[in-house]
């Protein structure tokens, strides 16, 4: 195996509790994420994994607990601020822009870096065009990386599921994020598609040093890819550690791995 390049803690979740009305979805969850690692969150359906990602990127506001991001305690933020802070994500139920092409979808991922104003874009020649070309080049690299050249101009609504998952990864990648949150990127895929996706995740982590938080149900994939794993079960944190530690944890075996999935 290659040398893992894992740095300091980049994001720390401390005592997070989240409720919707009377329902407690997350109960006193604490873990940290280190720079450059692949950090998985696993747990049965309804465990609160997706909710945890929504807390991390500021869509859900927990009632208790704090998040320390890049050394600073993070204040409650608006939904659109996560992108500016360098947090990008994909969604469990693909959230692409269905009427737009693959290319345009991935280009939207770079909206934070687009600086030309409305007037410049109206005239197009000059600054707006230069900017378009510059970002188009990066997006083309992403398209090559994800091997989706052939569907560049296809409206994503017409693409098969596996391809849509890839385009969504491309859109998140286009933001050049510090932390990439992947919510079940391989769900519903066949073995080959899973292998491709695993390779992309590893390559992103390896080549760009992107920190990745991964939610995945396929235990084989999780154990292969992850540096560390957090296990949730109905909002409660059962375990946190290396794949081996988690695999051998009795509470996890009882509550989760023992159950057929």
């Amino acid at each position: 195996m290659f040398q893992r390049n894992i740095g300091d803690v980049i994001l720390e979740v401390q005592g997070i509790s989240l409720s919707f009305g009377a329902m407690r979805v997350l109960n006193n969850i604490s873990f940290d994420i280190r720079q450059g690692e692949i950090r998985s969150i696993i747990g049965p359906n309804g465990a609160g994994k997706s909710s945890m990602l929504n807390v991390i990127n500021g869509v859900y506001h927990p009632q208790e607990g704090t998040i320390i991001f890049q050394g600073e305690r993070r204040a409650e933020m608006k939904v659109h601020e996560a992108a500016a802070q360098g947090i990008a994500r994909t969604f469990q139920n693909i959230a692409l822009f269905k009427g737009m092409s693959t290319l345009d979808n991935i280009m939207t991922g770079r909206n934070q870096m687009m600086k030309s104003n409305l007037l410049q874009q109206a005239i197009y020649w000059g600054k707006a065009q230069k900017e378009e070309l510059k970002h188009r080049k990066v997006v083309e690299e992403i398209i090559d990386f994800l091997e989706i050249q052939a569907i560049r101009k296809t409206p994503v609504g017409r693409l098969p599921y596996g391809m849509q998952k890839r385009v969504e990864l491309g859109r998140a990648l286009a933001a050049e994020p510090e932390i990439l949150l992947l919510d079940e990127p391989m769900a519903g895929m066949n073995v080959e598609e899973k292998e491709d996706m695993s390779r992309f995740v590893l390559d992103i982590n390896d080549e760009f040093g992107t920190t990745i938080v991964l939610i995945e149900h396929d235990m084989g994939v999780v154990m292969d890819l992850s540096d560390r794993v957090v296990v949730l079960d109905y909002g409660v944190q059962l375990a946190d550690g290396s794949p081996d530690e988690v695999r051998n944890n009795q509470a996890v075996i009882d509550a989760y791995l023992g159950v057929a999935h």
């Binding site: 939904v79 659109h80 992108a83 822009f97 009427g99 280009m107 939207t108 909206n111 378009e132 070309l133």
Partner: protein
């Protein structure tokens, strides 16, 4: 296989990002431009220019404005008429308060003023969507028309209530408004403005702002999570859209009818422009003009067609037929082809690209 992109290899992303990437498309557009600027003025009768071409171009521009808001940014609006009225009255106030102002400036400034009004009425769109937003914009439609009727200031306290556009000229001598302006001068003036503004719209929708609009339209929560600010993106759509509607309203009053009256911009106008967008194609620039052409031409066709076949149908019957045809078409396009005529055109082109081989 005559119409195709094969053999045209793009050596740069710049070439690939051009507005028209297929050579035949470029020829088509240049041909169309030559036809519109040279042939139509030469061969058209006064009747054609004033009763068909002017309304077609001006309403096409309004439809383009609405399509930016509804088709691209996904914000349904029934306030088009109100925004057109704002443009018309803004132009009237500007032209009478500053008679020395150039007509181009007057019209563009009216567009900007309408932008401001559009932004104001766009603020609720942050909170309300779809049907409720449509109702809110409908309220703004009624409010604006009521306001222009109610306050004499807008009509310079004219006693009759009918106010006519003052004569104005371009290049110091060519009259484009008022009773002495020639139809050809009016037509070329409107055509030039419409072509330039269409180019601007095309530029916007292929830039970052266009993608942000479509992202908000297709899935607003995902758009927000990738960092697109909801309010400013929606307000920009309202601003740009209202600019186009305002310019269209000013052109309608100054160059088409020659008089400024709120009745020309009532709620029927809002629906008419919305139908143009639906029939022409939501989210398509060409669709706005296809829809406008269709809706301007259909009544004329229906009025004249019976004569060609030697039939004699009463005028009111024809207008009933017209309503029925519109109704059926709108239902057809809403259910079967929400992307309208523009999409049908595109499918034809895709078929043509493969022709004569089915694969």
């Amino acid at each position: 296989m005559i119409y195709r992109e094969a053999g045209e290899f793009k050596s740069s992303y710049q070439a690939d990002q051009a507005i028209l990437t297929i050579r035949q498309d470029r020829w088509f557009i240049w041909g169309l431009m030559a036809f519109a600027f040279l042939v139509i003025p030469a061969i058209s009768s006064e009747y054609w220019l004033t009763t068909i071409m002017l309304p077609f171009l001006i309403l096409g521009l309004a439809a383009l404005g609405l399509n930016i808001l509804t088709g691209y940014a996904g914000q349904l609006s029934l306030g088009t008429g109100g925004f057109m009225a704002t443009g018309a009255f803004a132009a009237y106030k500007l032209a009478t308060a500053f008679p020395e102002l150039n007509i181009v400036i007057v019209i563009l400034a009216s567009g900007l003023i309408t932008s401001g009004v559009g932004i104001l009425f766009g603020v609720p769109s942050l909170r309300i969507k779809g049907f409720y937003l449509a109702v809110a914009t409908l309220a703004s439609q009624f409010f604006l028309i009521w306001m222009f009727n109610k306050f004499g200031w807008f009509t310079n306290y004219s006693a009759s209530g009918v106010i006519s556009a003052p004569p104005m000229s371009v290049f110091n001598e060519i009259l484009v408004t008022g009773p002495h302006a020639t139809p050809v001068a009016k037509y070329l003036f409107v055509l030039t403005l419409v072509v330039l503004l269409t180019l601007v719209a095309k530029n916007l929708v292929r830039s970052n702002i266009g993608r942000e609009w479509m992202a908000v339209r297709d899935m607003d929560i995902a758009a927000e999570i990738i960092g697109i600010p909801m309010l400013s993106t929606k307000l920009k759509a309202f601003a740009v859209s209202s600019f186009y509607c305002g310019v269209a309203g000013a052109l309608w009053a100054f160059l088409h009818t020659g008089s400024v009256e709120p009745l020309a911009f009532d709620v029927n106008r809002s629906f008419q422009v919305l139908f143009m967008v639906i029939i022409g194609g939501l989210g398509s620039i060409m669709g706005a003009f296809l829809g406008a052409g269709f809706i301007v031409l259909l009544p004329i066709l229906l009025t004249n067609a019976p004569h060609w076949f030697g039939l004699n149908i009463a005028v009111d019957t024809i207008s009933h037929i017209e309503f029925m045809v519109f109704g059926i078409l709108i239902i057809f396009f809403l259910i079967v082809e929400p992307h309208g005529l523009a999409r049908l055109w595109q499918i034809t082109k895709e078929k043509l690209r493969l022709w004569p081989f089915p694969y």
